[in-house]
């Protein structure tokens, strides 16, 4: 099924749900990885809003973005408890070793690096989230290991796709 079809399906599915906008955006993000520009029109129509209103909602939330992302999302916690355990070093190290800043995608499309403000793991900081897995007590070395593991997993998935 091509992209516009399942976006229409999702809009159909959520348009009558009270306050269905966020669940709809999450569902699209779950499928596509981001909210494609081409989704704005069908969302606006389905929910009876203007395009500007839909854009307004998307731009308000850190989770939603109209730009394509990497195949994986890597988030570094930069809130206070993690700072107290040295997360600033991990941020610097990660940006340097991956060669990207927050919000950017690595050249190979492997990952998008994002800041996050608390993952609820503050008793065992610093914390890093990779997709839906959270990792505790991460230092620079452990971060590198996590990225090596992610690469392996990613290439297995890519091969499986072929």
């Amino acid at each position: 099924m091509d992209q516009s079809n399942y976006i229409n399906d999702l809009v159909e599915q959520f348009k009558t749900l009270p306050g269905g906008m966020l669940p709809l955006l999450h569902a699209i993000k779950h499928k596509v990885g981001h909210i494609p520009e081409s989704a704005i029109d069908p969302i606006a129509k389905g929910l009876n809003l203007s395009r500007a209103e839909v854009h307004g909602v998307i731009s308000f939330y850190h989770d939603f973005n109209t730009q394509p992302k990497g195949r994986n999302i890597v988030q570094i916690c930069r809130a206070e408890a993690c700072q107290s355990m040295g997360s600033r070093h991990i941020e610097t190290h990660a940006k340097q070793s991956l060669g990207i800043d927050y919000g950017e995608v690595t050249n190979d499309g492997l990952l998008t690096l994002e800041p996050v403000y608390c993952l609820g793991n503050c008793a065992c900081s610093p914390s890093v989230r990779i997709n839906d897995d959270i990792h505790a007590r991460v230092d620079s070395e452990r971060f590198d290991q996590l990225i090596v593991d992610l690469k392996k997993q990613d290439s297995r998935l890519l091969e499986g796709d072929l």
Binding site: P18, G19, G20, M21, L22, P23, L25, H26, L47, G56, V57, F60, Y61, H62, D63, F64, A79, E80, A81, C82, Q83, S84, M85, V116, Y117, C118, L119, G120, N121, C122, A123, C124, S125, S127, R129, D132, D133, I134, H135, A136, R137
Partner: protein, 520 residues
């Protein structure tokens, strides 16, 4: 009885490798031909000991921690010895779980079941007195339930500490076709994880509290607004709602009472401000999370314009035990106008971080010394930030303040949601003050100029102070900016960001490059 081994599956245990430990244990059990069941439980909240593996035999429950994959074989050796009635003889052996000092010294009401069993097992929940509160509530009128909550003295645990019973009374009194119960599970404060722990370790308690709230005020629809940073809690809550619905604790005609209660989890989308209740309601309605002016109160015009109870996870959780065990029992804990227990969350640079549930009145020093055992780094503590990113940084002279809402307000600090973040002496408090402003830039909803623009200016002014550009003038400017934010902001985001900034400046001025002037 069957011998059982428990391996936690809450976020922190998982983040420390609990899945791999559970797998290694299962493999070891098979290869040794042992007759032992592995149960994935919630966490006891002693995060410094995670992954904490517990063994349950007819003789009781004992613990091993922290268990890594490489420890599994030696732990299984010890397990076999314990089962045979011999000494454990293992360096990770901690003795009887409930005698571990950290746990034994607590007064657990809301977290009494946390980590004991499979969080999704309804039978287990009932065996541990679950749904006792609901059973009682089903025999009471709405007004009687509200009175019970009032008697308990329970105040909101989300931060503002508003009396829960009074809020419920307003919603009960508001005539409307449709009312809502909204659970605030946005838990955005750094250093907090109690909501997460409750949802991951004892989700039925939250469900029970919400159904009771629905019965009390006459609401048949509930929403849990859960932050998207909590994938594990999301999964567990959804399963718990499914199970509770199938078993008749949610849905139509609960317990043959004629009352319905439907419950749904809604995910947030990474916005700290959506923890503020009116922003949360806007977000639930599918809009930008812009803070609403009050009045009208959400209790009168809340979700979709209808009377709505908005309460924190822990507030609603406490209601279940208040109804179950009686309001007086709850009220007997605490001091002054802070009744019951507080779920302290000890975090940051600390040796023994975790959840500590205690009656109000204990001091910060007791928490960081007796429970925390000092910093993780082994260095001296420099500052403690209590109450999340909008809370003040407290120097040692203030650590003897008892945990009590009024006592903290008196020193311009706050208990908030109960999070404590510890910093050692390497922390740069000017950098922390700058971060407080920066966080406000990132998370402001944008409605008020002092918050939206003032925070950006705040970052610049702090940078100029630290780099010694017109330092004296910029210091005056920073104080004026803080005044403007405090006075001209609609909510605590802009209104309280000055608290951490000013406290850093007052108590740690040397970090800003100011020589100690000895005037405080």
């Amino acid at each position: 009885m069957r011998v059982q081994l428990f391996v936690p599956q809450d976020t922190t245990a998982l983040a420390l490798g609990a899945d791999a430990v559970a797998m290694a244990i299962a493999k070891g059990i098979t290869s040794r031909g042992l007759d032992i069941d592995v149960v994935r439980n919630g966490s006891r909240g002693m995060f410094w000991l995670e992954p904490l593996v517990e063994l349950k035999t007819a003789a009781g429950r004992v613990a091993f921690g922290s268990v890594n994959v490489t420890d599994v074989e030696s732990v299984l050796d010890a397990v076999e010895r314990c089962v045979a009635g011999e000494e454990a003889n293992c360096p990770l052996f901690l003795g009887a779980s409930e005698s571990i000092d950290y746990l034994a010294k607590q007064q657990r009401l809301t977290f009494k079941r946390s980590g004991i069993g499979d969080p999704l097992c309804l039978k287990n929940y009932q065996k541990l007195h679950g749904f006792k509160g609901l059973e009682k509530a089903l025999t009471m009128s709405g007004q009687q339930i509200v009175d019970e909550v009032k008697t308990s003295g329970l105040r909101g645990r989300g931060g503002a500490a508003f009396p829960a019973g009074i809020k419920w009374q307003t919603v009960l009194n508001a005539p409307a076709e449709q009312k809502y119960i909204v659970c605030n599970a946005d838990e955005g404060d750094s250093g907090t994880f109690a909501d997460r722990l409750l949802m991951e370790s004892d989700p039925y308690q939250l469900i029970e509290g919400m159904v009771i709230a629905g019965l009390a005020v006459g609401a048949n629809q509930g929403y849990i607004y859960l932050r998207s940073e909590y994938p594990v809690a999301h999964n567990i809550m959804n399963q718990a709602i499914d199970n509770a619905t199938k078993a008749g604790f949610l849905g139509k005609n609960i317990g043959d009472s004629g009352s319905d209660f439907f419950l749904e989890v809604r995910l947030g989308a990474g916005a700290y401000i959506c923890g503020e209740e009116t922003s949360l309601l806007e977000s639930l309605e599918g809009k930008r999370g812009m803070v609403r002016a009050k009045p009208p109160l959400p209790a009168i015009e809340g979700l979709f314009g209808m009377p709505t109870v908005v309460n924190n996870v822990l507030t609603l959780g406490a209601v279940a035990s208040i109804l179950g065990e009686g309001a007086t029992k709850y009220k007997d804990f605490g001091m002054g106008r802070s009744r019951g227990t507080l779920a302290v969350q000890l975090a940051g640079n600390i040796k023994r971080g975790g959840l500590i549930e205690l009656a109000f009145g204990v001091t910060l020093r007791q928490i960081v010394d007796d429970f925390g055992a000092g910093t993780f780094s082994g260095r001296p503590i420099k500052a403690i930030q209590m109450g999340g990113p909008l809370g003040a940084f407290l120097p040692e002279s203030q650590w003897d303040t008892p945990l009590d809402y009024e006592a903290f307000a008196a020193i311009k600090a706050m208990i908030g949601h109960g999070g404590i973040v510890v910093f050692d002496d390497t922390a740069d408090m000017a950098a922390q003050a700058r971060f407080a402003m920066e966080f406000c830039v990132v998370e402001s909803c944008g409605k008020c100029t002092p918050c939206r623009i003032g925070s950006t200016r705040g970052v610049e002014v702090i940078d100029r102070i630290v780099s010694n550009q017109e330092r004296d003038n910029n210091l005056i400017l920073l104080h004026e900016l803080c005044d403007t934010m405090e006075l001209g902001s609609l909510c605590a985001m802009g209104g309280m960001t000055p608290f951490p900034v000013r406290s850093a400046l007052t108590y740690f001025e040397e970090d800003f490059g100011l020589s100690s002037r000895g005037d405080h």
